[in-house]
């Protein structure tokens, strides 16, 4: 284990309780991840009612007849709203993580493999500056400037999210590029592009995948917070954070109306974190 200081941008993903998870448990958790994704994809088909239409009595508690999670102050079915909310939150998080990985990963790979001024002066300076800004705040500012809405929110978050991946991928690539097997490939007259794709990229993928999978939970939380503040999808569309915010006044009387969307976020984050840890323990990372 190296004892050198880890600069801010080099923080590697940390697993819950160490990477020692029994394989069956790990696979079960990965299965959960897949299950949630399927639920998110088919939420509309799974939802019993139209989420934005009032369909029942007002403020029915959970486990009432016909409404598993109850209804809200306008009579909309909470189960349907929560399912669509899960769809929005989960798929948005996946999109943000994927775009961060793609943009940041590519930049990091090129930077780490090229080295020299392209790496330190150009690409990493930009990445460093982005990283030094308070990401969440800038995301709020961006979305506020562009105007609220789901698309703008995703853009705002993606813009501040990629530098993290760039740094991590660049670090891994640089470490790999300094190893003799890359030099040996150069001696074998292997072309630059082929070195990147065949001798560097496969070594970087495990760390990238682990980072991304552990990051999904963070993005879910950030998106929920942004939607809580009113950025993100506008009403009456269901969104987990926003639904909590709008029902705050009912906190002490009908706790389930603001509470259930919040619990849904908790569930998504939990599954994402545990799934990320499972993936981490399943993928062997070379040291």
């Amino acid at each position: 284990m190296s004892t050198t200081l880890v600069p801010r941008w080099r923080l590697k993903p940390v697993a819950i309780g160490g990477a020692h998870m029994a394989r069956p448990t790990a696979w079960a958790l990965v299965g959960l991840l897949v299950a949630v994704t399927l639920v998110a994809l088919f939420a509309r088909q799974l939802a019993p009612y139209n989420p934005i239409q009032p369909v029942g009595a007002l403020n029915l508690p959970p486990l009432s007849a016909g409404h598993l999670l109850g209804t809200d102050g306008i009579g909309r079915d909470l189960l349907s709203r929560t399912l669509i909310g899960i769809q929005v939150s989960w798929l948005s998080a996946l999109v943000v993580v994927a775009s961060g990985l793609l943009i940041g990963g590519t930049i990091g790979l090129v930077a780490g493999a090229t080295g020299g001024w392209v790496d330190s002066l150009l690409l990493m300076r930009i990445t460093d500056l982005f990283l030094a800004l308070p990401g969440a705040l800038v995301a709020i500012a961006i979305v506020a400037a562009l105007g609220p809405g789901l698309f703008n929110t995703l853009i705002g978050v993606a813009l501040v999210w990629w530098p993290y991946y760039a740094r991590i991928v660049r670090g891994e690539t640089k470490a790999l590029a300094a190893r003799p097997h890359v030099e040996a490939a150069k001696l074998a007259k292997v072309g630059r592009v082929r070195i990147l794709t065949r001798h560097l990229l496969p070594g970087v993928v495990p760390t990238a995948v682990i980072t991304a999978s552990l990051d999904i939970g963070n993005v879910v939380l950030l998106l929920a917070a942004l939607s809580f503040l009113g950025l993100g999808q506008q009403s009456p569309a269901p969104e987990l954070g926003a639904d909590t915010a709008r029902a705050l006044s009912q906190l002490l009387s009908q706790w389930w109306v603001p509470g259930i969307p919040g619990l849904a976020v908790l569930l998504l984050t939990l599954i994402a974190n545990l799934g990320g840890d499972a993936i981490r323990s399943l993928i062997p990372v070379r040291r």
Partner: protein, 330 residues
């Protein structure tokens, strides 16, 4: 060490410049019209146009940016569209309460993180339960924690209040209830202020505590297996001596980095927490500015909090350098 400090500070200045530029760009893109803040919503179009001219909003971009920067340096952040007050004045009013909340939350987070990490690395019996609970709590979105906290500690148990900072009419000088009540020697008011502060601060501290704690624990674990710790043990030192003198200082680096990062996230989290607890701070101010697209206010808050974040990272880097002399030799 001094050259390191100089380098770090100049990078910080550069970052602030970039941040200002980004905010400036966003401002020109944003839909709201800053001139309206000065003349009001009912002003005629001619008056608005005249105000725009007076504010120099039709000048070329570079000139506007220079004026913007000049305004930043002199403390002029424009005028809020919502309150019609200068943004700087608004921020000055609300910042101390946020500072109080963030500082308290950060201290709690550090304490919890230390407990989390040390209990894991030194294998204190029974601590894994506590760590598991903390982990679960950290997975929850802060607003959920706040809701649950209010329901449990206010609704059910009646121990802690649900909103606001208390009834103390604070004459200053700091604008922070906790400190000012001490300054004025008011014990009851202090206790009241503390009770009001406790729940929001704890809610805000959980996620950072776990993030920092996990990193710290992981690096403690890594360092415990390292060669020079073996040397230390071979000298016959006790485990406590080994941990305190050899392990902690070498393991603290990543934890410090994470602490700096988490402070930034905390500034975002504080917005949500303040809204739920009706805490009269900048976060609440920001949250109120968003639905009305009050961009001057949003920009001002982002800049101020951003500057605080950048400067606190300089401090974190300094601490890292003090802990490990190899950092300055880079």
């Amino acid at each position: 060490m001094t050259s390191f400090l100089v380098r770090r500070l100049s990078t910080a200045v550069l970052i602030l410049l970039i941040l200002s530029f980004v905010i400036f760009l966003l401002q020109s893109v944003s839909p709201g019209d800053p001139a309206r803040a000065y003349v009001g919503a009912n002003a005629s179009n001619e008056m608005v146009a005249a105000e725009r001219q007076r504010l120099g909003l039709n000048d070329p971009m570079l000139q506007q940016f220079t004026r913007f920067l000049g305004g930043l340096v002199t403390g002029n952040l424009g005028r809020s569209l919502r309150t019609r007050q200068p943004v700087t004045a608004d921020i000055a009013t609300y910042l101390p309460a946020t500072a109080e909340l963030v500082v308290m939350a950060f201290l709690i987070a550090l304490a919890l993180a230390a407990l989390y990490a040390l209990s894991g690395a030194l294998r204190w019996p029974g601590a894994s339960v506590g760590r598991g609970v903390l982990l679960l709590l950290a997975t929850a979105p802060p607003f959920l924690l706040a809701l649950v906290g209010i329901i449990v500690f206010f609704g059910q148990l009646g121990w802690l209040p649900a909103r606001g900072v208390g009834d103390f009419q604070d004459p200053g000088p700091f604008g922070m209830q906790l400190v000012d009540t001490l300054v004025h020697g008011q014990a009851d008011a202090f206790a009241d202020a503390f009770k009001h502060l406790l729940l929001p601060a704890v809610v805000l501290s959980i996620a950072p505590a776990v993030a920092i704690g996990r990193v710290f624990r992981s690096s403690l674990h890594g360092v415990l297996g390292v060669d020079y710790v073996r040397t230390a043990r071979s000298k016959g030192l006790t485990e406590t001596q080994v941990v305190v003198h050899h392990v902690v200082r070498n393991a603290i680096g990543p934890a410090l980095s994470m602490a700096g990062l988490q402070l930034g996230f905390m500034f975002a989290g504080v917005v949500v927490v303040e809204q739920i607890f009706s805490w009269p701070g900048i976060g609440n101010y920001l949250a109120a500015s968003i639905p009305v697209a009050d961009f001057p206010a949003i920009a001002g808050v982002t800049l101020v909090l951003g500057a605080i974040y950048v400067l606190s990272n300089v401090v974190v880097d300094l601490l890292q350098a003090l802990a490990d002399p190899r950092v300055t030799a880079e």
